[in-house]
Structures are given as C-alpha cells and as structure tokens.
Amino acid sequence: MYEKHVRKKTATTPRKVVVAAFCACFLPGCISVYHYQPLQGLHRSYALSYKEANFAGLTLNLSCIANTFVSESAAGVLCDKLRTVFEGQGAKVLDAESGDAAFDYGLEFEATQTYHHQNAWMWPVSILLFTLFPVEQEYAFKQTVTLTRGSDGSPLRRESFEARFLWFWGAGYWGLNKLFNVTVRNDSEKVDDASMRRDFSRDFYSQVSQLVYNARTRDAFRNAKVEAQ
C-alpha cells in the first residue's frame, strides 16, 4: 500500500510541474526577449551625462502629444519620465498648476510609428513546436522633438530620433539568450528587458538633454556677446 502510494506520487508530480511550467510560459513576458537597435539620431555621441546638474536655474515646459500611436496615458508617462530626467539635472519643469508662468525653453515630443511587422502564422507554429520556434514581432518609432524659445515661442531646433525594437517569444530563443547571458556576455552586453530599457533611456535622454544644453550655451554666449558689445 505504501509502495503504491509512493510510486503514484513520483509518476504524477513531474508531469504536473511540466504542464504547469508549460502553461505559465504561454503567458507573454515569461519567455520573451527584447532587442533594441538605435537608428536615426540615437547612436550619435553626446558630451554630457544626464545624471549631472546641467540645467541649474533653467525652466522648461514639456509637452507630450497623444496620437494614434501614443495614448493619452502613455504621453503622460513619457512627460513624467522626462520631468524626472530634467529635474534630476537641476531644471525646473512647469506642470499643469504652473498656469502661464514664464519658461526658458519649450520641448514638444511627438512619436510616430514608422514600422510594424508581425507574422500571425508564427503563433500556432511556435505552440505546435513547444515554442522552440520563436514568435517574432518588430516595430520602429520616430520621436520628433521640437525645441522652442520660451520668451517668444520661436522654434530653435527640431530633431528626430528613431529606434527599432525586436521582440521574440518562445522557450527556445529565450533559453539560448539566457544561456548566452550567463556564459558569454559581460554585464554591459547582457540582453534582457531591463538592459533594453536602460540602453534606450540612456540614448534618448542623453540626446534630448544635449539638445537643450546646446541651445542653452548658444543663448548664454549670445547674451554675453550683447553685454560685451
């Protein structure tokens, strides 16, 4: 009786675990890998760190535009993150309660999707092959940043930054990537969701900060020239 009970447990527990793990892995995000590739503008070098106090005494007005690609809430999230980035560098960022307060520069952000690709046939094929064959999605978007002077609203600079993201889902690809992360890649080369977000944030926030910094130094130099004359 005792032997029979033990045999039954050993026979069913691994199967349950496998089934549970298999089901869990069908949840998107569990076995997915993101790759980020900087395209237009984002691979340029920058001379400052957005973690330093570059904008002490500067007042900015941020505006993130919602459209068919960016929902109202996503635009709000972007502006909140940018506010944190600029406030971290010493700038004062106006908010809804600031009313018509004066500001030095206005920054307007508008994103558009430039590419989207997904093969619907990959899902059933992947599931039939126990997700060894991955599902792949790709999209690219362009973030256009317009910098204006606060005093008169005149446009100073308009830059576009384009990024490409590849998303893979499946135990085969995820497992290989995990294996590479553990065995071959060093910390800066690791590919996972956190590093994708970190790399994109570093590139995007640095470029936007550099844009504002350049405008500020040009204006400061221009004012000093006027005083010197």
């Binding site: 790759h35 980020y36 590739q37 900087p38 395209l39 237009q40 691979h43 340029r44 070098s45 920058y46 001379a47 400052l48 570059n54 430039t114 590419y115 690709h117 093969n119 092959l129 126990f130 060894l132 064959f133 991955p134 790709e138 690219a140 490409r164 590849l166 085969g172 690809y173 290989l176 990537n177 590479f180 890649r185 800066s188 080369e189 590919v191 790399d199 550099q210 910094y213 350049n214 130094t217 040009r218 130099f221 221009r222 000093a224 020239k225 005083e227 010197a228 004359q229």
Partner: protein, 208 residues
Amino acid sequence: MTVLIPLLPFLLLFLFGRSGDPAPGLFTSKSDAARYECVRTTREAVSREKPGALKERAPRGDFLEEELFRCDAPLFARGDRPAQGDALLDTLSEQINEIVAGAEVAVPNAPAWSALAHHGDDVLARKIRFALEVALRSREKAVESELPHLSAADIVALSQKPPQESYPLLCAKLPSRNKAWLAAFSVDAKETVLHAGVCHDEVWTWLL
C-alpha cells in the same frame, strides 16, 4: 526531452534566417551593432545606389520576407574617441555648411578667405579649420591657409579674455582689409555645437 531534439532544426533555421540582421541579437553583440549606423531602405533604393548588390527576387516571390537596411560603419565607433569631439564630428559637415553659408551672407564680396578654429583638443581644432577651408573652396572662394601673426603679448592678452571679448579684439589685429577671416570655436566642454564669427575690414560679425 527526446521529443524536442528533432525540433531543434526549426530553431536553427530561424536563427540562420536572422543572421544578417544588424540589430543586437544572439550572434551580434551590442558593441558590434553599435559600430553600424543603419537606416531602413527599399530594394528600389538599393538598386539605384548600388546596382547588383542584391540578388534578384524569385519570379513567384520569396518564401522568406525581406527587410533591408543600409548600414554605414564609421571609421571610429562611439567610444573610440573623447565623447565631445566625437559628438562634434558627428554633425561637423552640417555645422560647417551653416557657418559658411552665414559668412557668405555677412561678407558677400571678400576677395580672399582664411579660416581659424579653436578647440581644447588641437587635433580637433585642425579638423574644424580644414573643414572650413574645404567648405569655402567648394563654394569657389579663394582660400589662403594663412595663420595670423600675433606677438606673444597679444596672444597672452587675448587668451585671458572670454571668447565673446577676445574675438572682436583679435579682429582689430588681423590684416582684414582685403580678406575675410572666418573663425569657428567651442567654448564649453559639454556642448556639441560650434560658435562662429567673421572678421572683415576690421569689423567682427557674430554668426552663431
């Protein structure tokens, strides 16, 4: 596990199909991918720019979908040189063209031109000066590769003043009756844009 082994070729087939992608991936490291500056392109554009670079498509279409990128590998990848110089050189052509176009408007009839550049990095300063000369020559200006002859006392006096004061003073010392002196320089270690001015007939005009 033995059930899964015959399925591995499907994964390998997929990975083989992705091997030419310029994005960071399983077989392309982030640092290797960062060496390339890529833009999405079309088969028509490639045929125009580089005929014969692509295989002809099968008459009934290909089984695999095609995605084309044009990737340029700069001589120096990001991080190979100091960041500010690198950033400045990234946009140097556009900046120099903007400066020279502004100088042409400010001094339309100068019979000859000379270029000056100042940057904390001497090598970069020479590159900026060379770029100015090339841009002037490409606009069919008579360019003289002459440097100003200043006394040691003048150099010390000018170097102790901020650029917004020193360049107008320098202009008074330059032989600018029959020549325009175009100067481009950087004033801040964190900025990646140049400032510029032009000296002609002993009058200094700020351009940027």
